[in-house]
Every structure is written in structure tokens, then in C-alpha cells.
Symmetry: C2
Subunit: 556 residues, 2 copies
């Protein structure tokens, strides 16, 4: 077998093994050294391949695909700095627990440490940020182990802690097989169980003993599965314990109206109602007020539950760190219901906050809070929505309230970067169909290359253009004389011209209502940017008024 056919057979066997284990989606960037991998993916009947020039964008696009169904997406790129461009998506996938398979092409050993072009040490390039790293040998006729290996690697990206796995794959020239290729003999792969972590019985008893008096359930920004959501709502009802749910948890945009899920948990948390115990799921809350609310009850029973060993508790006030599947854990608890007026008391605070939010959002001059509130109220059932980091996600937390008709809400809260947000949303739209992304102008600017993909995707972007990092207005940096130059960094650009450059539809909205109407109008077809210019000072004043109206301090 010539080297090109050997390389193709090697790549095919690997990708076929991954496909048999369950892989369906591949995101590849053009390159020469990676030809056998890309070609095998393109020619595999069970794999759909998306080509993306910018590997950073490709990384976040793959992240979005994998977020859509929690199944691994594979990335392929050529050797050298190309794969270093994956780094931002890799660290986010690590932190956010998103399964990715990083298939990096490499030069073979004889081309290392001799000044060959596009050659660098790729071993362990992503350090501790991957679940596993494997250095494959150069292509060989002995492939009888590759399919089984692929199945295990696929599994390692999913369980027990989903995340990236990196395979480094040396390939030799020639890289392009002449003429048609036939699929090499394939092998079945073992079925690999994902499993669930059942809670420890002794710990459950210890927790149960503490669930007495006034309780709260706090759900952070991790998307909870359907069974986890149902179990949490059931527990909440049984124990009369209101739920403080982050926008990204999914609960605020799916729970039935009669569930004790607060619409404005951030505002209620600012009042610091004194609970006796807190059950905490799904990571550290986005808004600082909830963290302060928990900190204020240091010493009370605070049980942090996670199905992996990543327990969100930056104030180190948890009394229990429980590694367990959320649904199994909730089902195993007995506890005692709180006094009847506890939930009512919090519901009253919540209603007051809802009134304040409604008032703050009534005026039709553009305001992030009003835009998020109206948008998330108006979208059709099950619309996927991506909320960018920084002020966008916080505005949703503060102002968006809740609704029973489900929305699929996503964000990148692993590391909460403003990088790759647009690419992630495009990946979601590729997996889930018509999608809305809400981005501030800096997050949008950080990921411009993604616009090249947007024409072919059903994504509608609501661009909140407050001319530079509006979040910093809420922080102490705003008092510095260097503030405008160094933090706001007004990057003046014309979104209409950008839309034209990439053949996208564009509309400028003057009011909150116009903006939301434009998003709804574009939703089905996508490839649209709805642009709202927002006055930062006006916006800050409205947010402050909302915080003040519920006797709340400014938060961040």
C-alpha cells in the first residue's frame, strides 16, 4: 500500500471507529497535512462535515454543536499554529464540560526537531485542559486496535466529566490518494456505558437531617437535563422551597406557572431572606447578588450537588459537596417541608421585583434589560437562544423574568469569555435550526470571522450596540481617568456595512419593540443582524433605578 493509501486507511479506520461509537459531526479547517483525516470524514456516510477557515471559530462552532445535544463533535486541523487556535474553545469546553474530539494532524517524527515547516511540538498542547491526550504513531498497516481505541476515546470525552480529548495524529506525504478510495475493512466497536453517579447513602442521610426549616434551591448557569429539572421541581414542591434559577439553568424558561421558580431571583436575593438550608445545583450563579445572599447565611446547611467533581462554591461555605446525578439525588431525599408562608414571602418579593422590572422596561428607548425581557417573552416555544457574556447575560438575569413555554437558553459560562460567542451560536443553529443570538458590540467584534459562516445558517443576531464594554460601567473601573481609553475601548464600526460584506440581512431598530419585532420577523430564515444602538448613560441610569426601586445596591 502506498503512503497516501496507508494514511487514508489509517484516518478512515479511526474516524469510522468514532462514527460507530456515535460521532456524527465533524468541523474541519482547510489544510494540507490533515488531508487524510478531512477526506476520510468527507467520504464517511455517517459523518457531516462543516468546513471553517478560522480554527478558532471552528473550535467554538464545534462547541455550539456539542452543546446542542451533549454529544462529542470532532475537530480536524492541520499542524502548527492552526491547532493553537483551538485553545480558547478548548479551555471553555473544559470548564463548561462540553465533549470535543480534537484531531490534530502532525508531521511524522522524522520531521520534528529539524526545522521543518509548520512543525511544532503538539504533544500535550492543551495541558490539563483535556480529559485525555494520546499521541498516535504514524500510519501503519496494523489497525486492528484503532476502532476499539476510537470508541474508548469517544467515551472519555463524555463520561464521567465531559470535555475535550486530544489525539495527535502524525501523517506522512504523499497525503492525497490518487483515484477513488474504498472503505477499508471495518470493525464493530464495543458499546460503552455512560452511567450515572448514584448518591452515597450515608451522605444522603446526613443531608436529609439538615433539610429542616426554610429552604431554598439554587440552580446555577449549567443547563439541567429534563429529568433533573423535573426532579428539582418535584423536590421544590414537596419541601415548599422556592427555586432561585439562573437563566441558563433552563428552569426559568420551562417550569410551569405554578412551580415555585422565582422570576427575579437576583432581585429577591438582594433582600437576603434568611434561609435555613440551601440545595445548590449547576455551578456558581452568574450574578453576584445570589452569591452574597448565600454568603450571608454562612453556617446554614449549604449542599452543593454536582454529577462531576466540579463543585461551584467560591466562598467555600458549603457544608456538603455531593457528587451525584441530580435526579437520583433529589429522588433520594426526604426532608421536611418549610412553613407555608416561607414560599409566599419570597413570592411577594419576587412580585415586587417583577413590577419594578416591568416599570424599568416600559419606556421604549433602547435598553438592554427591556430588550432581553421582551425578546425572551416573545420568542416561539423551544427557540434556541444564545446569550453572550458580559452585560447581555446579566441583563437577562436581572430583567427577563420567566415563562412556562420552554426556550432553549445557552451561553458560554465555563470561563465566561467574550470570545467565540457568535461562532458558538452558529454551531447551535446548525444543530437546532432557527436560533437567536444576543450579543454586545464587543463580543460581536471579538468574533467577526464567524460572519463568513452566517450566510448559510439560520441565525438571527440581536446586536446590543452600547459602544464598548457596558459591563464596566457597573464596576469600579468606571471611576478611573483612563476608563474610556482602556476599558470602554469604543471600537467604532458599521454593522450595516459588515452585513453587506457577508451578504447578510440587516435592520436597525430605534426602539425595544422594533428590535424584538425585527428578530421575530427574521427568525425563520436567519442570516440577519438586528442592530440597536444603546446610550450607555441612559442604560446605566435605568438599571440603577431598577436596583434602587427594590432597595437594592448596584450589582455586577
Amino acid at each position: 500500500m502506498d503512503e497516501a493509501r496507508l494514511g487514508f486507511a489509517w484516518a478512515w479506520t479511526l474516524l469510522d471507529g468514532l462514527a460507530r461509537a456515535g460521532l456524527r459531526r465533524v468541523v474541519a479547517s482547510p489544510g494540507s497535512r490533515s488531508t487524510p483525516l478531512t477526506l476520510a470524514a468527507l467520504r464517511h456516510p455517517d459523518l457531516a462535515v462543516q468546513m471553517i477557515v478560522d480554527e478558532r471559530s471552528a473550535g467554538f462552532f464545534a462547541l455550539g454543536l456539542a452543546k446542542a445535544d451533549h454529544e462529542p463533535t470532532a475537530l480536524i486541523a492541520t499542524s502548527g499554529s492552526a491547532i493553537a487556535n483551538w485553545a480558547p474553545a478548548v479551555v471553555e469546553a473544559d470548564a463548561a464540560r462540553v465533549p470535543l474530539l480534537l484531531l490534530s494532524a502532525d508531521r511524522p517524527p522524522e520531521l520534528h526537531a529539524c526545522g521543518a515547516n509548520q512543525t511544532m511540538e503538539q504533544t500535550a498542547l492543551f495541558g490539563v485542559h483535556v480529559r485525555a491526550f494520546h499521541a498516535l504513531p504514524p500510519p501503519d498497516t496494523r489497525t486492528d486496535w484503532l476502532a476499539d481505541f476510537a470508541a474508548r476515546v469517544f467515551h472519555a470525552a463524555r463520561f464521567p466529566l465531559p470535555g475535550p480529548v486530544h489525539l495527535n495524529i502524525p501523517l506522512r506525504e504523499p497525503l492525497t490518494p490518487a483515484g477513488p478510495t474504498s472503505a477499508p475493512e471495518t470493525r464493530p466497536v464495543p458499546l460503552v456505558s455512560k452511567g450515572r453517579t448514584a448518591p452515597d447513602a450515608a451522605l444522603i442521610s446526613s443531608v436529609d437531617a439538615r433539610l429542616t426549616g426554610k429552604g431554598v434551591i439554587v440552580c446555577g448557569p449549567e443547563t439541567l437535563g429534563e429529568d433533573a429539572r423535573a426532579a428539582i421541581l418535584d423536590l421544590s414542591a414537596r419541601l415548599n422551597a422556592p427555586v432561585f434559577a439562573d437563566v441558563l439553568s433552563g428552569l426559568r424558561f420551562s417550569a410551569p406557572d405554578d412551580a415555585a421558580v422565582l422570576a427575579h431571583p437576583d432581585a429577591v436575593a438582594r433582600q437576603k431572606p434568611a434561609f435555613d438550608w440551601a440545595l445548590r445545583f449547576g455551578g456558581t450563579p452568574v450574578c453576584r447578588a445570589t452569591a452574597e445572599f448565600l454568603r450571608a447565611r454562612k453556617g446554614a446547611a449549604q449542599i452543593v450537588v454536582s454529577d462531576c467533581a466540579r463543585f461551584g462554591d467560591p466562598d467555600r461555605i458549603a457544608t456538603h459537596l455531593v457528587q451525584a446525578d441530580v435526579a437520583l439525588f433529589c429522588a433520594g431525599l426526604r426532608g421536611r417541608p418549610a412553613p407555608a408562608d416561607w414560599a409566599r414571602q419570597l413570592a411577594r418579593l419576587d412580585d415586587a421585583a417583577a413590577d419594578a422590572a416591568e416599570t424599568a422596561c416600559a419606556e421604549d428607548a433602547p435598553f438592554e434589560g427591556a430588550l432581553l425581557r421582551r425578546l425572551l417573552a416573545g420568542l416561539p416555544e423551544n427557540t434556541p437562544v444564545f446569550l453572550a457574556n458580559s452585560l447581555t447575560i446579566r441583563s437577562a438575569e436581572w430583567f427577563a423574568g420567566r415563562r412556562a413555554r420552554a426556550l432553549k437558553i445557552f451561553g458560554n459560562r465555563g470561563l465566561s469569555g467574550i470570545d467565540g460567542n457568535l461562532s458558538t451560536a452558529l454551531g447551535l443553529s446548525a444543530a437546532l435550526g432557527p436560533t437567536v443570538a444576543v450579543l454586545g458590540d464587543l463580543a460581536f467584534l471579538h468574533d467577526l470571522n464567524a460572519l463568513a459562516l452566517m450566510r448559510a445558517k439560520k441565525l438571527t443576531v440581536l446586536l446590543l450596540d452600547n459602544r464598548g464594554g457596558g459591563i464596566f460601567d457597573h464596576l469600579a473601573q468606571a471611576a478611573l481617568p483612563e476608563f474610556e481609553a482602556a476599558w470602554i475601548a469604543a471600537q467604532v464600526y458599521d454593522p450595516a456595512a459588515l452585513a453587506k460584506a457577508f451578504g447578510l440581512r440587516y435592520s436597525a431598530a430605534e426602539t425595544n419593540a422594533e428590535a424584538v419585532a425585527a428578530v421575530l420577523e427574521n427568525l425563520a430564515e436567519g442570516r440577519a443582524i438586528v442592530h440597536v444602538a444603546i446610550d450607555r448613560a441612559h442604560s446605566l441610569a435605568r438599571a440603577r433605578k431598577f436596583f434602587a426601586s427594590s432597595q437594592l445596591e448596584t450589582c455586577s
Copy 2:
């Protein structure tokens, strides 16, 4: 001292130590955790700070600044995925030996491993791709060692192997000092010697004994210093040894007309003239023909000289690997001159190639080779020029010839990526004044975010728009049925609209002459894009005709 003042004093002492060691330029990205570092840099009288939103772009911009004068540039960014965006520039800086100081803000130890926001393990993030990594402790009142530490770190980025050094800097809240800050007491730092590696006398004798018969000098894509260029030209004259110099070596665009520097080394190399010895400097040549030429004389004396231990010799045919300063090495050699007709014989081949290149470039329909040939002939003396990777740099190698009036030619040949090319060119223009960047449409698309910086910089971009990776036309992938979709990846965008989006000047050129005239016209003021649409098939045919006209095979 409160925590904010402690953090500021800590950051200031560190940056002041770096400034005293010689640091002048800082590139910072907006963020919260990095506030003490950014503020100290902004308030330091000897530091110039450029703010850039996208940390990937910031990394390559810093790379460009550091390439301009071979002195370290510092990068500042906030914790989390932000610093992972530096990775592409870091691996390029490692491979291309460019000194960078990576100052990453981090959360303090108590916020690690507890689910705090924007927190990841940043220790050794860049693995083997940095010269040194240091984990600083959180800010402390004991700072008497910091300035000396800074001076050593600055040195480590410069000598013996220039490259990135990474300092991870935990900082505690509050991050913003209230009111004006005064500079803490500063300390002088030791002067640190850079040094030169003198050649080993025994090895020089061994080399000298081999320098008999017909010799060639091959200079790869590393920019040679002025003394190295002078020493090489002197040696070439003494030994009657023609110089095969890559465009990026600087020799082809500085050597006097009477120097034996070939104008078309790639074309001459295709003829495989049989040399007895080769002295090789400055890394692996960009074009494959030169590599094949060297390989054809395996067994002949081939001496690879580098002032660091990175010897470019992918075919492993070197007889000597000499670590020495190039100028000191050349001055130490005696050797024996080649027969008089040796240089004449190569000069005749070179003249024939020059005629063929002139013919191939005569027609005025847009063609990469003609554009590079005319542009590099027409630019004013000492103009800095950045050549993007892939087809751009190769077209320059093939067609640009040589000239005695100096040009400062740059590229990113460490890993030869198409990432960050525009940002690197912007960094060069910030350091060196009016600059030209020549980019293909894919390299341009890969680095769109850099356009946000371009309005304030004197950079003129010549955009060679052959609608997707034209280099692949020269490779075997072109025969694949998947070629168009997966490799060419035509990413249709409208450069005129992009220019409008960022307030840049734009002109479309119909001919090679028009394009070059437009570049010259825009040069002084910059912030301009000159766009040439190129027909890929026409272009490939002209390149092939050139290769055929000198009885050459297609190369890549």
C-alpha cells in the same frame, strides 16, 4: 495598605522593573482582573500601551512590534479564555524566536478549584512553547526582589533563544485603587548582557577543511542582522560562492548590485547545479525547490549555522551543525575560492530565470507573481513589507527578483500559519511607520478583527483575492472531487463593504500596474485596502508557464 493599592504597587514594581530592563511597548486587552497591570502600564512614563479587544489579534500585534526591533513586547490580559487566545501568537513567537512577555492576570489561589467565574488553571498554559514560566504569588508588601526578577525575565525572553516568557500574576479584589496613585519606590535593576555565541575553534577548522571546490551559501527565511548580512556578502565574495537568499532573509532586498546574490534562487535551484559545499544560514528555505537542490547533493559538505540550537535541516543531510553567531562564524572562516566560472555559470541560470519571470509578469491581467514583482521593485527605500503565508510569500520567492535599495521584508515563517498575519503587519506599522502588507483573501479573512485597529495605523493592504487558498492549486489536493468544497472553501465576502465598516480607504484595481500604483499612492497615509481580483486558473497557468519556460517542474 488596602488590597487595591497593594495590587497596584505590586503590578507597578513589576512593570517598572521591566521598563528599567528595557521594555517600552505593552499591548493590553480590556478586562477586570488585569486592572492593576493595565493601570500600572498606562501610568508608567516609559511604557506605550496599545489597547486591543481581541487577545489573539493583540498577541500577533505584539509579535509584529517585537519583530520590528527584536526587543520584547509585553502582553496583558485578564484571566480565563482571554489568555488562551494568545496561544497562536505564542507558538509562532516560539518557532520564529520573537521575544514576548506574557503577563496573565489570574484569580488568587483561594478562588481556584471552587467554581469561581473566569477561573482556570493557568500554570504552564503554553507548555514547552515558552522559554520560562513563573507563577507569581499574590500581591505582597515584600517587593524588594521584583525589579531584579523582572530584569532576569526580560533577559530570558531575549537570550540565548529569543521567545515568549510567561508570568502568571494572581491579583485580589478590589482591583481598582481609588484616587490618584503615586509610584512606589523603585529600584535599579542589573544590566544583563545578551552575548553572542563565538564559534568553536575546532569545528571551524573542520568546516574550513571542507570549503574547497564549488560552494553555495543558502540563506533561509530568518531576517539576518546587518552585521550578518555584511559578513555573508564578504564571505561570498572571498570564496566566489553565490548566495541563494530567501526573500525574508533581507539579502535579496539590500545587497549591492555587484554582490553574487541570485535574484531567482528558486529557479536556479531547480536546475540542481552540483556544488561541493553549502553553507546554510537562517532556517529552512520557503520553497521546496531549494530543499530538493540541497537533497540532490547529499554527501557534500553541508554546514548549517545558527546562533541558537534550532538547525533547519529537515532532510537531515547536514554534515555540520554549528551553533555560532553568523558574523563571527563567517569572519573566522578562511576557505578557498571556487573556480571563477562557477559563479558565472549560476549567474547565467539566474539571468535566464529573470527573463522568464519578466515575460511571465509582462501581461497586465492580475497575477500574484507580477503583483509581487512590480510592488517590491517599486516601493521606496526601507519600506517595511509584510508578506502573508501560503501563495503570497511563494509568489514573492518565485517572481520578485532582487534590488539594492533596501526593503524591510517580514513574514511569519516560524509556523507559516495564515493566522494573525494582518495583526502582525499592524504591529510592524505601529513600530516602523508606513508599511505594506500583501495578503491572500484567506489570510485576510482569518484575521478580520484586526480591521478594528487599522484606522489608526499607517498600513496599506494589498489584497490578492483569488477566492480561497490558491496555494492548493499547486498541490495534489487539487485533483480531489472534494477539492472546491473542502480546500478552496471560497468564502465570498465584499472587501469594499469591510473597508466601509471600519472607516478604511478602499480601491479596486483591474491590473497589476493599477494595483501597485494604488499601493504607492496610499502608502504614506495608510489605513487603505487595495483589492485585486485574480482568476485562479489564469494565475496557475502563468505560474506553470514560468516553471516550464526554465524547464522546471511545478513546485510548492
